[in-house]
């Protein structure tokens, strides 16, 4: 099943009257259960691509379908609901809510989905255990290491069982050992649950874990590699 279908994506940014092209007509599709990396140097357009697929930014032209839904036809509110239900995000800087505990951070997306509080707590505890943070649910983000915070972020992204998880340079803020642990975890979750992972990186270690690599340069697909 095709989770993401991008056709001829064009994205231009306007700055001080100048138009800067970020993506110049990219067409890509990703099937369910893929573990793919968008690879390229800074400014190649990989983050822009993830933002567009994640419905966080607006296309200049082209078409994106998430599980068959053309996102250009959705209102801002409908896009928010689409993100809420079908897309999980993992950020480079973790972006946890600092005033909430790890458990509350993980259960937060579930409460947005209207899941019963007890059920949300149970699911969040399972998610935390899955990422190796069993018993650490009551800690606040500032009481955790970078690696632990990223694990919480992964649990938060996966707890609602999304169709697609987008990770923007998920290991960039971590040391190599912790980074590889996180990648092992993501890969394991991809295998266990069949969740589609799509992440951007320019880190060679990260590329080694990916089963599909899409090379971007100057806003176009330069090449593709499947393993």
């Amino acid at each position: 099943m095709t989770v993401v279908e991008a056709q001829n994506l064009v994205k231009d940014y306007s700055t001080n009257g100048l138009t800067v092209p970020a993506l110049r007509g990219i067409s890509l599709s990703f099937e369910r259960g893929e573990f793919a990396a968008i690879v390229g140097p800074s400014g190649s357009g990989k983050s822009t691509f993830l933002h567009l697929v994640g419905c966080l930014d607006v296309l200049t032209s082209g078409e994106i379908r998430i599980e068959g839904t053309d996102i250009s036809t959705l209102s801002q509110k409908e896009l928010a609901f689409l993100r809420r239900q079908k897309i999980g995000f993992i950020f480079q800087a973790y972006n946890l809510i600092p005033v909430l505990t790890a458990l509350e951070n993980v259960s937060f997306p579930l409460t947005l989905l209207g899941v019963d509080r007890k059920e949300a707590k149970r699911m969040a505890e399972v998610a935390l255990a899955t990422v190796g943070l069993e018993g650490m649910g009551n800690r606040k983000p500032k009481e955790m290491s970078g690696g632990q915070q990223q694990r919480v972020a992964i649990a938060r992204a996966l707890v609602k069982q999304p169709s697609l998880v987008l990770a923007d340079e998920p290991t960039a803020n971590l040391d190599s050992k912790t980074g590889s642990e996180i990648l092992e975890l993501m890969l394991s979750l991809n295998r266990t649950h069949g969740t589609t992972f799509l992440f951007s990186t320019h880190d060679k270690m990260v590329m080694e874990y990916a089963r599909r690599l899409v090379y971007l340069r100057d806003g176009i697909v330069e090449g593709e590699e499947r393993r």
């Binding site: 933002h51 966080l56 509110k77 928010a80 689409l82 972006n95 509350e104 069982q161």
Partner: protein, 527 residues
Amino acid sequence: MRRKGSGIHKNVDNPPSLGYREILIVAFRNLSRHRVKTVTTTLGVAVSVALYIFMDAWLLGMNLDSKRNIVSYEIGAAKIQTQAYFEKKDDLPMYESFTDWKPLVEVLEKAGYAAAPRMVFTGTLYARSGSAPIVFHGVDPEKESRVLRYRNYMEVGRFPDKGTYEIALGLLAAEKLKLDIPRRITEEELLRLIEDTARTPEEGAFIRRLYENSDNRQKDLTRDRAPLSQEKLSYFLRKDLPRSDLDRYWELLLSSGRNDVRISTVIDIKEETGKIRHVYQVMEAKVVGIVNSPNPKTNGNVAFMPLDVLSGEEGLLLEDRVTEILVRAAGAKDSDLPGPEETPEAIEGVLNRAGVPLPSPLRVYGWQEYVKDYIVAARGDNITTRVMILLLFILSFLGIANTMLMAILERTKEIGMMRALGMTDGELILSFMIEAGMIGLMGGVAGMILGSLANIPMVNHGIDYSTMARELSGDFGYRITALFRSAWNPGTIIGSGIVATLVSALLSIPPTLRALRIPVTESLRFE
């Protein structure tokens, strides 16, 4: 992570409801991020709310007391006057008087009202120590006391009897003309007073005993203060005197002729041609009592004397003419404001139903028509105070706006993340409204408690400002002479808390909207 039993909805068109409990938790915990700022802002709101409650209760109390005092001591519920008199009432035009008032009073009394005829005129009161312009009220003592209660507040002496040329004088006029009991007197004056008043040595000794020397008094005040030669000669009326001693002293003063006065007035008589004729008249009278009621209007340059003696040739040649009839429900309590049966329409209705309609020049006017000075003073104070409090409110709400602006600016990245997680703009606005509303609620509740606590002594005891009131001649619009007391206003207490909460919540909307205008991708990069 099992999918079984997750209960997760997957329909974009039919979105699930938001977990408000978590939003509340986030909002509450965010308040603890900057405790000092939250506490300071909360305190600002609390002080504003407390001050508003306090000032509102004070104004309400003063207004309630003023209205009660106007009705109970000054006007009653309504007056019957000729339209011409009413239109010129500030000039006290005694020539716009009317006759045939007796059937009206009779009907009203039968219908359960108290009605008191009056002739109001101006003149000069001459006493031994000087003279003063006075507004005289010719009244029927019995009927007057059924409408107004100032007769119960005789500072000293009694109310004039029917058929006598006796006067009850307002306290301030009596003090000015030295017609009251002397409170402070020099040794020389005391000796002269004893000589003029005491008919026996025992009476002289009695009067002497009523005063204490200023030296004794000074010893009580301060030990180190150097006595002034002038003060050494002063005597003060003792404060612990029983009423019986004061009454006896007053009777001695009356019998000495000290309170014999002369009234000089001009009688204005309107002839049938409409021409006004002036007749100068002088009357001999005696001040038999001093009025000091809770309404300063009865205590100034005002005198009350029997109406019946004014009718004849030795009086004002009134021939049963009066300038007004005061009306009040019979047996109305002092604390009651006039009810629906005491409106001008109701009173006119009673007269009409009894077959004694008001003659064409006469009208019934409600008490509010006569107290424009009070209404202006009250309205002015009301507006000034509320504007001041509003400014205070604005200041504290600016504090909330600033706190929320800083909080939202600081959390721009967090807002981007929440939007990425799928929170809608509406949900984010609600979340920040709850956060700001909590500051308003906490401040509001604290302010309600503070304001109510401050109100307790003000309601139960009030502030005695009698010294200041005397310096202002007791008349500055409000009809209160000594005690400013507050009154409970549950509507304002609860309302101010609610308003503080709502306004605080609303103040979070502009900065939130500003943050939401930033694209999600930019918010996520915000540092």
